[in-house]
């Protein structure tokens, strides 16, 4: 018996334990090896599929590495200007209140240039879901400092490490957002292990379910890696994230009403 026939015997319906959701398109992903965006896309696609809300969901992609998110998840998408995704989502959700509307934003997009838009969408309590991918850096433009960059962290614009006196403090925008009465569910997750991915998926599902119940804005921060920006291998990146980011950006749910 050849190896191929052996494999073909194993790959059959009865043995199927995992199948890629059809919502995840087969377009070649442009993300770097080790990047967290791909895993997060997969989790979101799976939840939309499992909840069977593909034809009711509109995603708003940001400017940042995930600008092309619309190439990967098979739903209707709007591509926003840098930082403005919450404004697009606000109008979309108000004009079509029965739909599931989410934004997908990086930390530069959400916490820096789009700070006003996210704070006000949260404060108004828009009935949307926000995915906030925090990799402590501007990935797309080549690894410059973000508001979330840690003290001492070397980036293209903090070549000697982030210096608080010069560059200001590292921003925990998720904590600020949890203070706003318009948010119902605010949580910080990660996606570096299968267990973390499973937890993330639960959070994503809960967030979309909140939309059904019109419970107000659900906000999920995902602490992630940027191997290219951090100039580390994917494995080193995970280690660096655990050592440096998790103590500062503590995982867990900040608010669940």
């Amino acid at each position: 018996m050849t190896a191929t026939t052996e494999i073909n015997k194993i790959i059959n319906e009865d043995n199927l334990v995992y199948k890629k959701t059809n919502l995840l398109l087969d377009n070649e992903m442009h993300y770097c090896p080790g990047c967290t965006h791909g895993v997060i896309h997969k989790v979101i696609a799976e939840v939309i599929d499992e909840m069977d809300i593909q034809n009711e969901t509109i995603g708003v992609s940001p400017v940042g590495c995930s600008v092309l998110a619309y190439n990967y998840i098979d739903i209707d998408w709007q591509e926003a200007a840098h930082g403005r995704a919450p404004a697009l989502a606000t109008a979309t959700s108000r004009l079509m209140p029965e739909k599931y509307v989410f934004t997908y934003q990086g930390d530069g997009d959400l916490a820096s240039i789009g700070c006003a838009e996210i704070i006000h969408a949260c404060n108004r309590g828009e009935n949307i879901v926000v995915f906030f991918v925090n990799n402590a850096i501007y990935g797309m433009t080549g690894g410059q400092m973000a508001p979330t960059t840690l003290e001492g962290q070397v980036t293209a614009t903090t070549p000697y490490g982030r210096n608080t006196a010069l560059n200001g403090h590292t921003m925990k925008i998720t904590e600020m957002i949890a203070l706003l009465p318009g948010t119902r569910y605010v949580t910080r997750q990660s996606a570096e292990t299968p267990a973390a991915v499973r937890k993330l998926k639960k959070a994503v599902r809960k967030a979309f379910e909140n939309t059904t119940e019109k419970k107000g804005l659900s906000f999920i921060e995902i602490v992630g890696t940027c191997s290219s920006g951090w100039k580390l291998t994917p494995t080193q990146s995970n280690e660096w994230m655990k050592e440096n980011m998790f103590p500062f950006y503590q995982l867990g749910t900040l608010k669940d009403e």
Partner: protein, 361 residues
């Protein structure tokens, strides 16, 4: 006669929006146009037609809400005045780049900077030459009366959807604030989901149905060859607008030897100056561009056999005059007359300018 009332220009914008079946208005307060949102909030159209009205946190947010709403195939508008319109330029170029229909109203005040809240026409370049980045054009309508504030809301949406392009009503603080008799349009219902499907189903992001590809509202294409193709498509659209959508009014032009060219408030003042001039025996006419893009270039050129000189009148330091000169191409003298900084010229001043700058030369 339909529903005739005495109303402010800005109030009429709001009323016309409700009546033409507008789905959403997103704005931020600024003088001299705040009455638009104030009127909408007082009218509570969400109770009547289901129209969404939201005070955004900034003009930047407002125009991006317009982008989101327009992406859903809905009739969406915003209004502001000059400083706020400057902030909206990012969103406007994205609307043009994503080929989204939407209506923007600029009730112009004097600049630059914070300037003053008094009327001006100094946003002409910004409106017709771009304003934001990239090669794009807006359909620009210039109302000269409260009645046209009413009429151009419906027309603006019609053209915006015809070309999948943002349209701009370029008004000014005088037209926005003045009260005039207006015949309001009849109520048109908002589009149903089925109608939106029919009109915009090929691109609107209303939720992907199993019988179609996903719709993506975007202005991004990283491939230069495709980006150039897309720009060709946009340019073809702008040429089609030039072919089909030029609107203007000719007043006393049949025997005119001299010509005023003016839009909006300046056109009204110039019309009075035409009367004053004719009383003195000067054969003056007026061309009033109604669309500023596309510009009535041909209408001006058709007058060149008979006129001896042209005065472009605008409440600016001289912006539209450049388009007049392009049309005239040196065949007859063209001069500009303007007051600015919020000063409105008198008809006497305008006539005197013609006499000095054109006739006396």
């Amino acid at each position: 006669m339909g529903d005739v009332r005495l109303m402010k220009g800005n109030e009429v914008i709001a009323e016309a929006a409700i009546r033409c079946g507008c789905d959403g208005y997103f704005g931020y307060p600024i003088t001299p146009q705040s009455e638009v949102m104030e009127t909408l909030m007082a009218r509570q159209p969400w109770e009547q037609t289901g129209m969404v009205v939201l005070q955004a946190e900034s003009e930047v947010a407002a125009i991006n809400m317009v982008y989101g709403g327009a992406s859903c195939g809905k009739k969406i508008m915003t209004s502001s005045s000059s400083p706020g319109i400057s902030l909206k330029q990012e969103g406007i170029t994205y609307l043009a780049g994503a080929e989204l229909p939407a209506l923007v109203v600029n009730v112009v005040r004097a600049g630059p900077g914070l300037g003053t809240i008094q009327p001006a026409q100094s946003d002409y370049f910004q409106s017709v030459k771009g304003g934001g980045h990239g090669d794009y054009k807006l359909i620009v309508l210039a109302p000269a009366s409260v009645q046209e504030m009413n009429d151009f809301v419906g027309l603006g949406f019609e053209l915006a959807f015809k070309y999948r392009n943002p349209a701009l009503i370029l008004s000014d603080g005088a037209i926005g604030q003045m009260m005039e008799k207006v015949e309001l349009s009849d109520y048109k219902p908002r589009w149903t989901d089925e109608e939106i499907q029919e009109i915009s189903g090929s691109w609107a992001t209303t939720g992907k149905k199993s019988d179609r590809e996903r719709n993506i509202s975007t202005s991004l294409d990283l491939d230069s060859a495709r980006q150039e193709q897309f720009n060709h498509k946009l340019q073809a659209k702008y040429r089609a607008m030039e072919e089909n959508e030029v609107r203007f009014e000719k007043i006393n032009c049949d025997d005119a030897e001299y010509l005023f060219i003016a839009y909006g408030s300046s056109a009204r003042i110039s019309q009075k100056a035409v009367e004053l001039g004719r009383e003195k025996g000067i054969k003056i006419g007026l061309i009033r561009p109604i669309t500023l893009f596309p510009y009535p270039t041909k209408a001006i050129q058709e007058m060149l056999g008979q006129v001896k000189g042209i005065l472009s009148v605008e409440m600016s330091a001289g912006q539209m005059v450049e388009d007049v000169r392009l049309a005239v191409n040196g065949k007859v003298p063209v001069e500009h007359f303007g007051r600015y900084g919020g000063i409105i010229p008198t008809p006497e001043e305008v006539l005197e300018a013609l006499e000095q700058k054109i006739i006396g030369k």
